[in-house]
Amino acid sequence: MKVIHELCDICGTCVAVCPVDAITVSEFNVEIDNDICTNCLNCLKVCPAKAIVEGE
């Protein structure tokens, strides 16, 4: 999964639905660790800003 930083509002909704704790949020950024990610697509589905896409 990949975060499009220009669209991301850093709201953290993705973190709440991630079953494997692959997502990190700081004051300025959201990052997805693709080594941990299982491609379940939960984050992509709930992202209100549509800032998450498939791919690395």
């Binding site: 509002d9 709201c11 909704t13 639905v17 949020v25 700081s26 004051e27 209100p48």
Partner: protein, 397 residues
């Protein structure tokens, strides 16, 4: 001077965290709050609607953080019919930025310390026991030791996960939300509005919370599993284009609201979870400010008691869980079952519900009446709903 050891470290200075900090400090504990952002309350991720009875126990009402007073709720069904609710008690639309800072100031007054721009990175563990928090402050990694961590780090909570607690929310139990603050409107300042329907806002609703007679928070939450190609922004844009074609957007905000029951585990040895992090949100209204403050007050008191008695294990901290369930947790469970009903409600059912409510004299029309009617045909749930209104004197939202 910030010390390198406190009895309690609270992560997150929203309403749940700052109320927890305040009650812990007031009851004799030394408390440090860590806030990731540069100021509590920002960025605002909230519709800002609360009930007077919900917040009054925690802070003296102050005009500086009240945008408007709400006396009327207007519910609109998919076919455009509206029912008006007048006796649900006084409500406010807040200025969260000022409100959250005021709550922190209150915690500080009782002796709690706050550091802003302090981003929690991990829990410190010694022999598997939580003994502190590692955080980043102005580019520097710091450590603070403590006996209890209170995790109040919101929907995006990771602190609970670091402690090994499963905090994952199912897609159907999170609402994906977008909100605009709109200007250039012509509104009744005392009326909040709600719009329902599967074409309008699947599995959720659209809200209008006026902040003045020309500005309002206008937002939408839709159930996570119903958000596909068409997401909350598309639904909201359609609504705004029709209802407020000439409005100007002064603020755009995205966010997620857990609409689940409280997490199974909200305490472990040396750690407690409060607020959105514990999923302590009304699953029907999505309201979490008052819920978080109530949970925070219970957690703060229990944490201080734990400090005074030198007992930090889950067994002792479970007092918080017990008290929470009695106060609101059990009610939240019933509300969650009701929300499941709402998820499957057809537009026809919404229309009938609003038609029914319209016939009730507006001074007799309350949430209790609405909910009881909504779950008609399910005797067990009706009973649970009735009971939850008896047990909990706390107002919804």
């Amino acid at each position: 001077m910030v010390k390198d050891r406190y009895d309690i470290v609270v992560i997150g200075a929203g309403p749940a965290g700052s109320v927890a900090a305040r009650y812990a400090a007031e009851n004799g504990a030394s408390v440090l709050m860590l806030e990731r952002d540069r100021e509590p309350g920002i960025p605002v991720r909230c519709a800002e609607g609360v009930s007077h009875n919900g917040i009054a126990p925690f802070i003296d009402i102050d005009k500086r953080w009240i945008a408007s007073q709400i006396d009327v709720a207007k519910l609109t069904s998919p076919n455009g019919e509206s029912a008006f609710m007048h006796n649900n008690g006084l409500g406010y639309v807040l200025e969260r930025r000022i409100f959250d800072t005021a709550l922190c100031a209150l915690a500080a007054k009782h002796g709690a310390r706050l550091i802003t721009k302090a981003d929690a990175l991990d829990l410190i563990k010694e022999n598997d026991k939580i003994t502190g928090v590692k955080y980043r402050y102005m580019g520097e990694t710091r450590e603070v030791k403590c006996d209890i961590v209170i995790a109040a780090d919101g929907t995006e909570s990771r602190v609970g996960r670091w402690a090994g607690i499963n905090t994952t929310v199912a897609l159907r139990d999170i609402d994906t939300c977008v909100q605009y603050t709109l200007a250039g409107l012509d509104l009744k300042k005392d009326t909040c509005e709600f719009y329902f329907g599967n074409e309008v806002s699947p599995g959720g609703y659209i809200w209008i919370f006026p902040k003045s007679d020309s500005t309002a928070n206008v937002g939408i939450g839709i159930a996570g599993h119903l958000s596909h190609e068409k997401g909350p922004k598309e639904y909201l844009d359609e609504f705004v284009a029709e209802r407020f074609p000439n409005a100007t957007i002064t603020y755009t905000m995205y966010g997620g609201v857990p609409t689940a029951a409280t997490l199974k585990e909200i305490v472990r040895d040396n750690i407690m979870l409060v607020g959105d992090a514990a999923r302590q949100v009304n699953p029907i209204t999505g309201g979490g400010v008052v819920q978080g403050m109530i949970a925070g007050s219970i957690a703060g008191k229990v944490a201080a008691e734990a400090v005074n008695q030198g007992q930090f294990d889950a067994k002792f901290l479970k007092k918080y869980r017990k008290e929470w369930d009695k106060t609101l947790g059990n009610t939240q469970k019933v509300m969650h079952s009701m929300k499941e009903k709402f998820l499957f409600m057809t537009d026809e059912r919404f229309n009938n519900l609003v038609s029914y409510c319209k016939k009730i004299p507006s001074d007799k029309f309350s949430l209790k009446v609405l909910f009881t009617e909504a779950v008609k045909g399910d005797p067990k749930l009706m009973l649970d709903v009735a009971k939850s209104f008896v047990v909990s004197k706390i107002k919804l939202k």
